[in-house]
């Protein structure tokens, strides 16, 4: 079942925390909530947009691959601000990444003169890896933990 995103902010300097049940519509709600929380805390627009693009790919990957389209699995995320930029952590209890490591992230080839060959997918991880300053994945105790950093433009 698609859970509504719940979140709280304890104070202006504390982390933004959000947890919800896996579904693409719950991801959408969580992203809107994250965007509003970061905007209201005065995080610069460019970084707010970037973190939203990266989180969309990371969270939808959890929904579609870690939980394999079975809705409702727990997803938690925490976002906090450090001097150099935003730190994000996403945790879930779905299956591990293949080989317990991050996918490589090459953008798919594009031949604009060959319409039928244009890729309809395969952009997600390439977008993530291009936009983050650093990223780390850990599998431990049946849980996936992905941490990444978005620095100031």
């Amino acid at each position: 079942m698609a859970g509504h995103a719940h979140s709280h902010m304890i104070g202006p300097d504390s982390a933004f925390h959000c947890h919800f049940g896996a579904s693409t519509s719950a991801v959408r709600e969580a992203l809107i909530e994250t965007h509003d929380a970061l905007s209201s805390r005065g995080i610069e627009q460019d970084m707010t947009e970037t973190v939203q693009i990266v989180l969309a790919e990371v969270l939808n990957n959890v929904v579609e691959h870690a939980y394999g389209e079975v809705e409702g699995g727990p997803i938690e995320m925490t976002i906090w601000l450090e001097p150099e930029g935003l730190h994000c952590e996403v945790r879930d209890c779905g299956i591990a990444m293949p080989n317990d490591e991050l996918p490589s992230g090459a953008f798919p080839e594009i031949d604009k003169n060959n319409r039928d060959s244009l890729p309809e997918g395969g952009f997600g991880w390439a977008m993530v890896l291009t936009m983050v300053a650093s990223i780390a994945y850990q599998r431990e105790g049946g849980m996936n933990r992905l941490r990444f950093q978005i620095t100031h433009p």
Partner: protein, 115 residues
């Protein structure tokens, strides 16, 4: 998720009337777009109301473009900064003619514009 369609002299305009073109509506978008554009020739996809697109939304845009018969072109209009950012990052900005406004896209869509 909703799309609206307007028929113009040289093309049809599909406007996305939802703020987020994402994984939760990608399939609906593809289905509605295909139904709306069956008979209209060239297409302008007006994204001026779209504040956010993810890779699934982008994939859906590419899919409907590929679904048009050869010879029918599709232009994009009204990209907001986060949408433009995703287009540029994925190099899809090289695939589509992109216009800042719908008016500009319509002006470019004439009887000689279709290749």
């Amino acid at each position: 998720m909703s799309l609206s369609f307007t028929d113009h002299e040289h093309c049809g305009v599909v406007r996305v009337d939802t703020a987020r073109l994402d994984a939760s509506i990608a399939i609906q978008f593809k289905d509605q777009f295909r139904t709306m554009t069956e008979d209209c020739g060239d297409v302008i996809l007006d994204l001026s109301n779209v504040e956010f697109i993810d890779s699934s939304g982008l994939g859906a845009v590419v899919a409907v473009y590929k679904g048009l018969e050869a010879g029918r072109v599709m232009a994009l209009a009204g990209l907001q900064p986060p949408v433009q950012k995703v287009m540029t990052l994925t190099r899809m900005n090289a695939v589509f003619a992109i216009f800042p406004t719908l008016e500009g896209a319509l002006a470019a869509a004439g009887p000689t514009a279709a290749e």
